[in-house]
Every structure is written in C-alpha cells, then in structure tokens.
Assembly symmetry: C2
Homo-oligomer: 343 residues x 2
Amino acid sequence: LNIIRWEFLRLHLIKYGRIHSDVKLKDPFALAQKDLNHLYDDIKKELFVSKAELKSLCDYYFDGKGKAFRPMIVVLMSRALNIHNLLPGQRSIAMISEMIHTASLVHDDVIDGSDKRRGKSTINEVWGERKAILAGDFILSAASMALARIGNTTVVSVLSQVIEDLVRGEFMQLGSKENENERFKHYLEKTFKKTASLIANSCKAVSILVSSDPEVHEIAFQYGRNVGIAFQLVDDVLDFTSCANHLGKPSAADLRLGLATGPVLFACQQFPELHAMIMRRFSSKGDVDRAWQYVQQSDGVEQTTYLARRYCQEAIRQISLLRPSAERDALIRLTEMVLSRDK
Amino acid sequence: LNIIRWEFLRLHLIKYGRIHSDVKLKDPFALAQKDLNHLYDDIKKELFVSKAELKSLCDYYFDGKGKAFRPMIVVLMSRALNIHNLLPGQRSIAMISEMIHTASLVHDDVIDGSDKRRGKSTINEVWGERKAILAGDFILSAASMALARIGNTTVVSVLSQVIEDLVRGEFMQLGSKENENERFKHYLEKTFKKTASLIANSCKAVSILVSSDPEVHEIAFQYGRNVGIAFQLVDDVLDFTSCANHLGKPSAADLRLGLATGPVLFACQQFPELHAMIMRRFSSKGDVDRAWQYVQQSDGVEQTTYLARRYCQEAIRQISLLRPSAERDALIRLTEMVLSRDK
C-alpha cells in the first residue's frame, strides 16, 4: 500500500512540474543520517553534570533509540536552504529542537500521570514526580544555554516562542469546557502549539542563520507548520487504529486522558451523542468504550486522515518554492512517510 | 537594636575610609522606588494571555506585595555602575530576575508539596500540581522571551546559567546522603546555586550592558554572590528564630522538609547525636523536635549569623571598589538590612 501511495505522489509531483520524472526521491532518514550521527552524544555533553543521579535521569530519554524526527527535518531544511554545507549553528538548532521536545515530554508525563513512553517507563514512574519536574527544567535550561551560544538573538526569540507555545498548548489541552462551534479551531490551535510550533520555528531558525529574506523564513516556517500539524493528526488517528505497544502507549490513550482529538470531533458531527461525553471529558463510567465505538462507526478516522493529507499537500507546495536539491526532495518524500506511518 | 547596629556599621565604614563622615546612606528601598514603580504591571504585560485562568495563575504571585528584593539590587547596581541613567535593558533584567525567581518558587512549592508561601496559599494548593508546573514553565518562557529581546547574547548566557544553577541547587537539596566532611561545602554550594546565583548573575548582566571591563563584571558578580549567600544564611537562621506567620511559613519548616541548614550543621559539631538525624533527613518520629532542641542549646544560630556577617563584609569590600554614588552606598547599607531583618 505504501509503495502505491508513494508512486501516486511521485506522479503527482511530476505532473505539476515540481520534480523531474527521472528523479528518485531519497529517503529522508538515510540522507540526514551523516548529520545526525553523534547527535545524542552531543546532547549528553550539553547535559554534563557531575551528579550521577541527575545525569542518568537526563540521559534516560537520549538513549539514541528515538527517531530524531525533529532534528532530521532541521538538518534537511538547512541543507535545502544552503544548497551545500550545514552551519554549526544549524546543527545546534537540530540538537536544541530534540532537547526542547524531550523536556516537554518529561513535564507532560508528570502532568498526565503517564507511566509509559516509547515502550519504557517514564521518568516520573522511575524517579518520582519531583525529580521529573527538575529533569525537565534542567534539560530546558541546558537547551537555553546552547541556544545563547549560537549568538543570534532573533534565533533565541524564535525558539523561546516555542517554549511558550508548548505551555500554552498544554494548558489549552487541560481546558475542559469548550464552545462546540469553536472546538475544532481550538483543537487545531492546540495542535499547532503543542506539536507544530517546535518544527515550524526550528525550520525558521535555521533559515534565519542563512538568509535575510523574510519570504524564505516564511517558506521554512510554513513547511514545518504544515508537516507538524499533519504529524499530530496522524498521531491522533493512530491512537484509534494502532494496537497497544506499537506507539509505546495503550490505544485510546487520549480518550482515557479526557482528550477529544480529530477522530472524535469529526465523529461528533455524525453522532451528536458524543457532545455530552466530550464536555465531561469521558469521565463517566463507560464513556471511553462508547466513544471508541462511535468513532469506529463514524468516518472520523478517514476525515482526520484526509485533513492530514491536505496539510501535507500545503507543506509540499511551500517547500517546492525552494531551489531543487536532494534534501528538498527528501522533505517532500517525508510528507508521504508522515501520512503512511503506522506507529 | 537595628539603629545601634547600623550606627556601628556606619562608623566602621568611615574608619576604613569607605564613606565620608557626613554621608547619610540612603535607604535602598526608597532610592530604588522610582525605578520599580511599574515593575509588576510590566511583568503582567509580559505574561499577557487571553486565557483567563492561565492569566490569573501567573499573576497570582506578581500582586505587588513582594519586596522586589532582587529587582531593587539590580536597579541600584545599574545606577551605581552607570553613575546616572538606567538603561532599558537593565530595567528589563530587573524584571526578568523577579520572573525567574518566581518561576522557581512555583516549581519548588510543587516539589516540596508546600501549601503556604508569603502568607497565602501556594499555586499548587489552589489550582493543583499540573497547573502549577505549567505556570512555572510559562513564567520562565516569558522571561526567556524578554531576555532575548534585550539583544545581547552574553546576557542571555549569563541568565541561562542562573536557571541551570537553580535546578542543580534544588537537586543538591534533594540529595539525602552526604559525606559529613563535605556537608558544609555542599550546603554553601547549594546556597549559592539556589539563591545567590540569580542575584550575582543579574548584577553581572547589568554590568555587561554598560562596561566591557571584566573587573567591573567581577565586582558586580561578587557583590551579588556575597549578599545572596548572606541573605539565605539569615533566612536559614530565621527558620529557627522567627515565629510562624512572620515569614509566611511555619518555623522549622526546613527540618520538616528534611533539610539540614547552617544552624543544624554548626550544632552538629557540638552535638554529634545530630549526625544520624541529618543522614535520615529528620524522618524518624520526634527527630524534628529533638533537632530543634539541639540547635537551641548550641550556638548554631550565632555561628550562622556570624558567617552571614562575613559574607556581607566581603560584599561591602567589593562594592566599595566602585566610584562613590548614592546607589553604591545604598547597596552598602543594604548588607546591614540583610543581616538585621527579622522576617
């Protein structure tokens, strides 16, 4: 299925003159590999501490088993913008993006009371809440130090905005009562803040280091924004379609946390019975199971997937405005991988 | 008593030629007042959010009832260094110092499970832990944004170091088993990181904006470091001498949290029975009361106060290296106020 989809996208791109028919779009993970070889070692150096326990805690998630999805986008965007070399500051931004991401996961797990993440126990589960709060603060402060060393205050502003967005997004997610009409807008705004802002602003930051043209900054930002939102929409779909263990968390985890994501919001248009459950955050006995059933009977999953596809198309449109390069085309291919991933 | 002490200091300063005999050292709070008039309003603007609940949460501690101790030092140091005007970037650093301080209090209260602070309920007590974690993150991210806007990457580095120190200091405080010989060194290092680093590095940051001379940066840093450590030593003494309510927290709060501060560490030299209690963090039944009794019988309070006095003398020695000004002399007077405060 993936191969058919991918062939379809390739033909689509050829048709609209975005790529040549003889181009074989490279695998983005393979293409970024050389730039990301020592990424986790470099992060551990940033987190250097003599105190053994704090160290083991901070290193816990930087075990090299992550996909490094954000750093990969950042280095490919850098090379697509620069045409050739990767600037040291851009490599730092790749690293900082992963550090900010991880710090926010650590605090989110405390806030959600989660005990599993990527198939292993969370920091709060192993070391307790107090140390998890501190570990998140510490990773964030190390990221701020690395950010300051890049020596560009616009870049500092752009990435500080991310941290603010992450908090605002998490806060929006805690909010319980929402006007039904504004619910979808609220969901997409939360999705931008919690997931896409980091990718969008990291892409923008690397563009600032290499270009003074605001249009280039905007292309980089919009590619990251659209891919980021699509990524999260697919994540929200997988929460309904993937079995447990695949994502390292149980399925329907969002419902259990009281969260109404894309599939539920679309399902609610067909089954208004979901409205009351959404309002009480699936807190009554049996709510999670019933909501799950409604989503399965609806086309919420298909509609959310379709929406993700549209965001990917916009990401492709944006990145296609850059000069051709293997890295630019790998970023195009990445959008298809975002749509077709199953874990 | 305070008047006598203060007169003693004034004579001491005259004797060593640091001030003239006809100088009346101004009250630092009065002298800084005009620069701090709208400080809390300005902080609230930085925390501007449409979401009403997040706003009320973040504004909670910036109610204008705080002493603004850190901003006061920062503006006086700025004017002592500049001789006349206060630069906008320096005013921002005064504001940021209070924001970083408050963000760390919010997280510390979650970590310590505290329900009272400055005589009112803590954020975690009123809104719950999850929102308190987020509020702390949010205040910190707003501080980072304001910091980036100053547009000086050295200043960003210097104040990012503070955030790292705050976390490391809090982590040191959580550590339970300490080698007895190294315990005092550990306590002073923790005190620097948790309290003095913010004051020292804020003073250094304002000096960077106005001078390129490393010796000037060092004077500013050392004044802040020494006053900061003295401030915390006095705080640790007041935990044993002040009645409840005065500090807005019950006395012997540190013992109840399992913390061995200056008075206990000195008392342990006279009463080795304290050693085992320190090691188990006063966790056995009756430990808190017994430790309290030992401290009262020892001269731990006097020795800690004497140590604070020595740090203040070093602060005076450092600041006296600056050219004379009303603000410099107010910073000298401040050291005596730090020593004589009773709440």
